[in-house]
């Protein structure tokens, strides 16, 4: 199954599958911060096509809305799955988000990209779910997947090599717990900003747009998140 790197963990119930190039919209920009001309052009092209689909969907063409859904639904699931840790919650977010989009499509006035608009809906739904969990003091490390089995949020995928190296297996489990604990110290908003920046590779300005706030606020949230995480990780080590 998934073997990303020597000590990588799998968050959530899925395994890694090939990403269709057309589906990778929030491209992970190399940490150096450069954007190629080709990437920008593809983005512009995507926006244009989206706009056409949206116009048709607004006129009532269901096929156009279906096409729009196809372009984004894997990304939506990927984000929700990583944030919420189980397939059922991810599917619920997916469902609610696209139903909301369908209901409010006529309110979309093209002032931002559909991508940003969609992500705004999705992040709000995820934040709601995260807040509900925190207030219910749910154990954040466990999630139930579609088969009903309880799964560790950072469960390692079984690997023949793991059997042969129990010491490494233990190390992976320990790190998994450590990471989960660190993420748990973040507020839902901090977790969201960290997710969008660190795991999804979006720019802080985009993150601000998606969370309906300023880039400055997103920056400060990121600082708080990284400070908390570093404290937590350092504390565990000593």
């Amino acid at each position: 199954m998934s073997k990303a790197g020597a000590l990588a963990m799998v968050v959530g119930g899925g395994t890694a599958y090939p990403i269709e190039s057309s589906q990778v919209m929030g491209k992970r920009i190399a940490i150096g911060g450069t954007r190629t001309a080709a990437a920008l052009e593809e983005k512009a092209q995507q926006r244009m096509e989206d706009a056409e689909f949206i116009r048709q969907a607004q006129r009532g063409e269901r096929a156009a809305f279906d096409a729009l859904v196809r372009r984004y639904d894997q990304q939506v699931l990927r984000l929700a799955l990583h944030l919420l840790g189980n397939e059922q919650d991810a599917q619920d977010v997916h469902q609610e988000a696209f139903l909301k989009a369908y209901r409010h499509l006529n309110n979309f006035r093209f002032e931002c990209s559909f991508y940003t608009w969609m992500y705004r809906i999705v992040t709000n739904l995820c934040l709601d779910q995260m807040r509900r969990r925190k207030s219910r003091r749910e154990e954040q490390a466990t999630g139930v997947d579609a088969s009903g089995e309880e799964r560790d949020l950072l469960a390692t995928v079984s690997d023949e090599r793991a059997m042969m190296n129990p010491a490494r297996e233990l190390e992976r489990k320990r790190l998994g717990t450590q990471i989960a604990a660190a993420l748990d110290t973040l507020t839902p908003r901090e977790r969201m900003v960290f997710e969008l920046k660190h795991y999804q590779g979006l720019r802080l300005r985009t993150i601000g747009e998606m969370l309906s706030t300023t880039e400055e606020t997103a920056k400060n949230t990121l600082f708080r998140a990284t400070r908390k995480l570093r404290l937590q990780l350092a504390g565990e080590r000593s």
């Binding site: 998934s2 890694a16 894997q74 990583h82 990471i179 802080l204 990121l222 350092a234």
Partner: protein, 319 residues
């Protein structure tokens, strides 16, 4: 530069959010300041650790389940009334609105009745699906590099990458997993062969009557064919999708509308002429006639203009 203000800059630097000028200023500062160098190293270490919680792709099963559930929910949504949507549609075709809604209501009613009969028949005759067999290769390949990070140590580079694991599955067309994978395949923008093969298989299923109006999955097949008909970049794939939708022209209004849309807007004349042919069973329908009327005068292709004119005349003869 003061080290307190550098702290925040260091985080932004580590995430590639600093302007080039600012990044340069920070680098200069760090050359002389060990404290800040350590700070950056510490941030990098945190990034490395946190990155171990890899973002995984949703499994095809999850994607398929989510799509099916969404489709169901959208189908049952009380969206704008059919009359309002019809009016919008007719507005686009420049058709006089007087008699249309009544006729449309009759057609929709007829569609529901015949659809009900068909689904009961199909359900009785549905073969039991055989279990699909998974043929898995095992080893994951590196699919893409997602980040290259420079560390303070000039000898060391950190590379973030994603590994994907190709898998194969074998089974019959009745198997829901196979079907869902084929539905996904119709949207593979990179590979036309994959799209062509999957649309072809699904269309053949539909033509042989194996995706009646009963199951939810079968609805998904029809919808996927409609999307391919309207939006696939390859005319050959669009033709094949059209082929698969033929049995439903008479009893599925959405299919009929999609074909009418293709007739009006498809850039390929073969697709359009095929579409004209498919509309013969519903040639008496007023909205179809409206489109035929437009096409008979405005299509670029003489054969198509002729064919639609002939259809219109056939109907007036009957009447």
């Amino acid at each position: 530069m003061k080290c307190e203000s550098a702290q925040e800059w260091i985080v932004l630097f580590a995430y590639g959010e600093l302007e080039d000028e600012q990044a340069h200023a920070l680098e200069l500062h760090m050359e002389a300041c060990e404290g800040c160098r350590k700070e950056l190293a510490s941030v990098r270490a945190m990034q490395e650790t946190m990155a171990l919680a890899v973002v995984v792709e949703p499994s095809p099963n999850l994607v398929a389940r989510a799509r099916v559930a969404l489709d169901e929910a959208l189908d049952t949504m009380p969206s704008r009334s059919w009359a309002a949507r019809l009016l919008d549609g007719f507005r686009g075709w420049g058709f006089a609105l007087r008699g249309a809604p009544v006729l449309a209501a009759l057609l929709v009613g007829a569609g529901f009745v015949s659809g009900g009969f068909v689904s009961r028949y199909e359900a009785e005759r549905a073969p039991k699906p055989r279990q699909a067999v998974l043929l898995t290769n095992g080893n994951g390949e590196v699919a893409s590099v997602s980040g290259v990070v420079q560390t303070p140590d000039s000898d060391l580079v950190q590379v973030n990458y994603n590994r994907v694991v190709p898998e194969s599955i074998q089974g019959t067309m009745d198997d829901p997993q196979i079907k869902q994978l084929l539905l996904l395949a119709t949207q593979n923008r990179a590979d036309i062969q994959v799209r062509a093969s999957s649309v072809s298989l699904l269309a053949d299923q539909c033509r042989t009557g194996n995706c009646g109006s009963g199951g939810i999955e079968d609805n998904g097949v029809r919808k996927a064919l409609m999307v391919s008909l309207r939006y696939d970049k390859s005319p050959a794939v669009r033709m094949k999708a059209l082929d698969g939708l033929q049995p439903y022209v008479g009893n599925d209004r959405q299919v009929r509308d999609a074909i009418l849309d293709a007739l009006m807007h498809d850039t390929n004349s073969d697709v359009r002429s095929e579409a004209v042919g498919l509309l013969t069973p519903v040639q008496a329908d007023s909205s179809v006639r409206a489109v035929m009327h437009t096409v008979s005068t405005q299509d670029q292709n003489p054969y198509i203009r002729n064919a639609s004119r002939t259809l219109l005349e056939q109907v007036s003869e009957i009447q």
